[in-house]
């Protein structure tokens, strides 16, 4: 039986190796034809399922032990821009719009950490964002160093880093204070 449509008999048998794990997929001709991207081969449900169940447990307390604290937030939350619900995302594996990344920020953060191994973009950025984004990246980096210096009780270094941060923030203000991603509200 086809793993994807659960209707037709499976006639194409695929294997893919992901993170050293073998994943097998048995598909009918029709579904096999639709699969092209490597990321699609192992169905997203497979990749996400474990992680999303973990999120459900952590945030919504679905499988919390008796006496555990109440769920952190109601599970029926929907994206303020597109109306996508977390449950729909869970079954479909696709977000509805850019604001979904904020509407489900905690879940997305955990998901990215698990699927991508990181939550911080290091690549190119739109030119229109100008120098602001570079400054912001530097400030984030310096803040992390500052935190470590304070933990290490290296106060001289901490004072130097704090001055650097202040200077960068002042520079950014002079540039027009271009915040690459101002808090985005509902656009429609």
């Amino acid at each position: 039986m086809c793993n994807k449509c659960q209707k037709n008999p499976a006639s194409v048998h695929m294997q893919q190796f992901l993170n050293g794990q073998k994943v097998e997929l048995h598909l009918c001709q029709e579904c096999a034809f639709k699969i092209d991207n490597p990321e699609m081969l192992v169905s997203l449900e497979n990749i996400f399922k474990g992680i999303l169940d973990q999120i459900n447990t952590n945030f919504y307390g679905h499988s919390a032990a008796p006496g555990a604290p109440p769920p952190m937030r109601p599970p029926a939350k929907a994206c303020s821009r597109c109306g996508m619900t977390f449950n729909k995302f869970k079954t479909g594996g696709r977000l509805g719009c850019d604001i979904c990344y904020q509407s489900f920020s905690k879940e997305v953060e955990l998901l990215l950490k698990n699927v991508q191994g990181s939550t911080r973009h290091e690549g190119k950025y739109p030119r229109r964002m100008g120098a602001g984004i570079l400054t912001q990246r530097q400030v984030t980096e310096l803040r992390a160093q500052l935190k470590k210096s304070i933990e290490d009780e290296n106060f001289e270094e901490a004072a130097r880093l704090r001055d650097c941060i202040k200077e960068l923030e002042a520079q950014e203000k002079d540039l027009g204070g271009s915040t690459p991603n101002p808090p985005q509200g509902d656009e429609r």
């Binding site: 190796f17 690549g123 190119k124």
Partner: protein
């Protein structure tokens, strides 16, 4: 250079046939495809098409919906479009360069997917091209971008750089030895995915594989490409080692394999795509190792592999064919191309 990548001689020279880069982007003012209305989709296609064509003079819009099924299959076989792109009824757009090496799919899983392919080992170059197109489009539309997460995509597996870089590689000797049991499980631990480009899993047709990065976030585009290059070089070294081992310990077997493949391809009257692909793979190996001393066919081996696929065969014949008719036509095409 204005030839399609598969017509370049370098595709016949070593393990790497081509380098491919895809960038995924979404336009901020529209929701992602899952939440896109038909009206929104129409506006999106018009706006993105306009941005791409005005960004660069060399793109030509192509009405993919208006093409017949055979012509659509040809685009799939050339890997210019994805099966996902043909799904659903929402409006979509396709823009391609004259030599078809650069293309932009509008309203695939993401609003904009820029693809750049080059012959041989040329990944940075392919990325540079895609990135330039990205910059030019971005001057005209605002992409969804987050300071921490980078470019926002419909699927979180593409978030960040939106970059999928891949090599198409030919691994005939590894396929015959320890590819499925040893090599695949090992290399995929290093953040890459590997799969057959035609056909199934560990024993793909023609021993042609696509190797690509899995993660798109947390590393710069340059580092993602570098990581993929390193793993690919390791795989190639394994292939060359396997080849050397076969050549020293089993030369008669190799010679028989290659000449037998040539014999069948130049004489068969009925041949399936799978059998033909596997024989072409052995012949490619024969030319590279010098075992095969016959004149080279008038087209490069990968181009022949593509042209014996169902879509290409039917397009070139100008008619739809049954499986048996295709097998006859394929056999005839192969005899002619090797006898020229």
């Amino acid at each position: 250079m204005n030839t399609p990548w598969y017509q370049e001689a370098v595709t016949d020279e070593n393990e790497i046939l081509s380098s491919r880069v895809r960038l995924a982007r979404n336009i901020k003012k529209y929701p992602f495809r899952r939440k896109l209305s038909t009206t929104n989709a129409n506006d999106l296609v018009a706006e993105a098409t306009d941005a791409v064509t005005s960004a660069s003079g060399f793109f030509r819009p192509l009405d993919i919906g208006g093409l017949g099924k055979t012509e659509q299959t040809v685009f799939l076989e050339k890997h210019i479009i994805s099966p996902e792109f043909l799904n659903g009824n929402l409006p979509k757009g396709l823009l391609i360069s004259d030599n078809q090496n650069i293309s932009v799919m509008i309203n695939e899983e993401d609003h904009v997917r820029i693809q750049s392919v080059k012959a041989g080992d040329c990944l940075e170059n392919a990325f540079e091209t895609a990135s330039q197109i990205d910059d030019l489009i971005e001057e005209r539309v605002e992409f969804a971008f987050h300071t921490d997460y980078g470019y926002l995509t419909a699927c979180p597996t593409n978030t960040g750089t939106g970059l999928r870089a891949s090599y198409m590689i030919h691994l005939p000797c590894l396929s015959k030895s320890d590819m499925p049991t040893n090599v695949l499980p090992q290399i995929t631990k290093f953040g890459v995915a590997i799969r057959g480009i035609y056909g199934e899993g560990t024993a793909p047709m023609g021993s042609i594989y696509q190797i690509s990065n899995q993660n798109t976030l947390g590393k710069s585009e340059h580092d993602i490409i570098l990581g993929l290059q390193n793993v690919t070089q390791t795989v190639i070294a394994r292939e060359q080692h396997a080849r050397q081992k076969l050549l020293t310990s089993s030369k008669p077997y190799m010679e028989d394999l290659v000449h037998r493949a040539y014999g069948v391809l130049t004489n068969a009257r009925l041949i399936s795509a799978k059998e033909a692909m596997d024989l072409l793979s052995d012949i490619r190996l024969g030319y590279i190792t010098g075992i095969l001393d016959k004149p080279r066919p008038s087209k490069h081996i990968y181009q022949i592999m593509m042209e014996i696929q169902p879509g290409h065969l039917q397009r070139n014949a100008g008619t739809e064919m049954t499986e048996q008719e295709r097998d006859i036509t394929r056999a005839k095409y192969l005899r002619e191309i090797f006898e020229q």
